[in-house]
Subunit: 208 residues, 4 copies
DNA sequence: CATGAATGAGTTTTCATTCAT
DNA sequence: CATGAATGAAAACTCATTCAT
């Protein structure tokens, strides 16, 4: 029922400003603890202005999710298009994910929010967007893995669906730890360690 | 501020009932969306009774966290005590984690809650408990890994701290995906896949 | 979904107090212009107290309607039970209606509210209560009229349903004029005039 | 405060359009529940345009009232001018009222609005217009009745003021029942019944 | 004349917490 | 120990009105 409003240039920029502030606040304080007043105060506008752009708190949250997921996922899909050995692409993929997470702190926090906010409290749209995100992410990974298995670079011992789930878990889990512990696990060294684990496992071969 | 109250047998059982209900509700609906009224209604007692056992909503949440973490972590520490090759113990550890997650759905949901509820909204106690859990979990894992590395069964190529972080991420991430997608990723087959990945990596060796 | 709450004696009286105030206010200012704040301020209680007794503004309005209609209609039904000539009972009926309207100014205003408040804005319960009231009122009148027609005291020239509608109109219409003009049309003299009109019409017989 | 603005032809038609839409909406949803946004949306113009024609929501409502009352009352006054026996004219009057109500559904709804909207919420102008309408309506009727009484066609037993009040009540009351019950009481058969009641009363003469 | 974005006071509603009984 | 009515600060949301363009 969202009527896409045509906004003037100024309207566009103001809306963007709101989105920025909301992103910051949701990321910092969480969904519930962020009030419309907070968002409005940050933008120095009247409360009604917020409701001119969105019909509810749900709606702006949903828009943030959609926006960020889209750019996130499409960046990954771009890698998939490349003509390169799958193993290399998989590493690029993770490198890229890592880079993006490092680069876009706010985006990280939002994705954290996505996966952490109890979807039951939201309208079904949020649920749908969330599921879409995971589906598309998994699809990309499964494709990578299957390509790699066909190509012979990735072991056929592990089920592709399972492996995709595990890889997603690692990404989500790293973000969560970041958030909870308020530390920085997403630095290059961590990426290298991760790649090493994925490449060779953690057991000493001769002991296998 | 916490005065350890001496409870009668009836009081004990009533308190336990409250905890059960609260655990269910927090797990289902999240922290904010679960009201004291919800908890009280589920237990068929007066609201004042609730406040006799706990001074605030925070406090019961904190108690649930503490309880569950304690039993969770101590189970893992038990494994650490055993006299067995480290590699075997590490596999036992993950098997145990998997089993516990499968067995204690509610506990899963609570851990999910822990990592997802924005700690900033809570008093510092919740923050402390959360950090403690992660610290102890990480400590156990780091110890395992270092033992394995000394023993020669675990590769020295990967930094122990990094590896611990990755392992925790996998556990957290699996839980989150469970929760968000409302599917069941925590079945034995997944555990097998995970162990296989950790043992040998995902790359075909001859390609290394 | 209304859970009938068991109230203490004090609770009962406080609820009654709220109802009184709300009745006054709705009658004076209308439904929309009466705010929860108004009602609460009049009762010198916290706003939450109001929401302890009713879940919404709709709900207290509905309760007022139901209460007042019930006592209003049941008084009329009592007359119907009496063993008297129908013509006399009909006059009693109107006398009673007149008396009640005169006696219960607030009730008048509420009935005014009922018939005047645009039901579309309310939940369907208000609609149902309103329709029920009219149905029961019409039913009583139709019964009276048909009894009178059988008995021979009321003319068979007029359709009973139509006549009932006309009689209701007179009652409603008098109330409305009272309200709008802020005058007092409901005095005994007016009742006498009304009975005279109904008895003999307004035309001079020889001219018919 | 009202400055009579000179409007272009386009302005005139646009204003008329607004009035039409507002009439529909007020009639359907009531005064409060109809928002300026509703009116503007229905007319596909900007909100500022609305405020160019009227200074407030009150004002357009007032204009609608004035317009409709004027045409309503003047039609009745025309009948009064006619050179005919009073009894016949009275019947014409009611026939005309009935016809108009049937013909102009929207007008009905507005008159309904007039008598139902709590005048206290409005500025005094609305109150004045409403009172004027009733006064003029009553005046016409009283004149009719007194003429009839002089002429000998209407019984002198009933006070002319009282009778006028009763007749107005019938009209208002029928409209209200229409509105509330969402049925059609304003058809010709009802008019016939009403005239019969007024002519001869409802009692069997021999019983008088 | 026309637009529609911006405003903010005002309204309904929620819910953790207290306290008299 | 137990109850549940009472509280009120805080939150989401509405809408008549204004004004820069």
């Amino acid at each position: 029922m969202k009527t896409a409003k045509k906004l003037t240039a100024k309207g566009q920029s103001r809306k963007k400003e709101f989105l920025e502030k909301a992103l910051d606040l949701f990321g910092e304080k969480g969904y519930h603890a962020t009030t419309i007043d907070d968002i409005v105060r940050a933008g120095a506008t009247g409360k009604g202005t917020f409701y001119w752009y969105w019909q509810s708190k749900d709606e702006i949250f949903l828009e943030l999710l959609s926006n960020k997921f889209e750019s996130y996922i499409s960046a990954l899909e771009n890698i998939q298009q490349m003509k390169l050995p799958t193993a290399d692409k998989l590493i690029m993929l993770f490198t890229e994910i890592g880079n993006m997470l490092v680069k876009y702190r706010k985006l990280c926090k939002l994705i954290y929010l996505l996966i952490s906010t109890n979807a039951d409290e939201f309208n079904s749209d949020v649920l749908k967007v969330t599921n879409d995100y995971y589906s598309r992410f998994r699809k990309i990974l499964v494709q990578f893995i299957q390509d790699g298995q066909k190509e012979g670079s990735i072991s056929r011992d592990v089920d592709a669906q399972h492996l995709a789930t595990i890889l997603i878990s690692i990404v989500d889990g790293l973000l969560l730890q970041e958030k909870v512990m308020n530390t920085n696990y997403l630095h290059p060294k961590m990426g290298e360690s991760l790649i090493r684990v994925l490449r060779s496992g953690i057991m000493v071969k001769s002991a296998g």
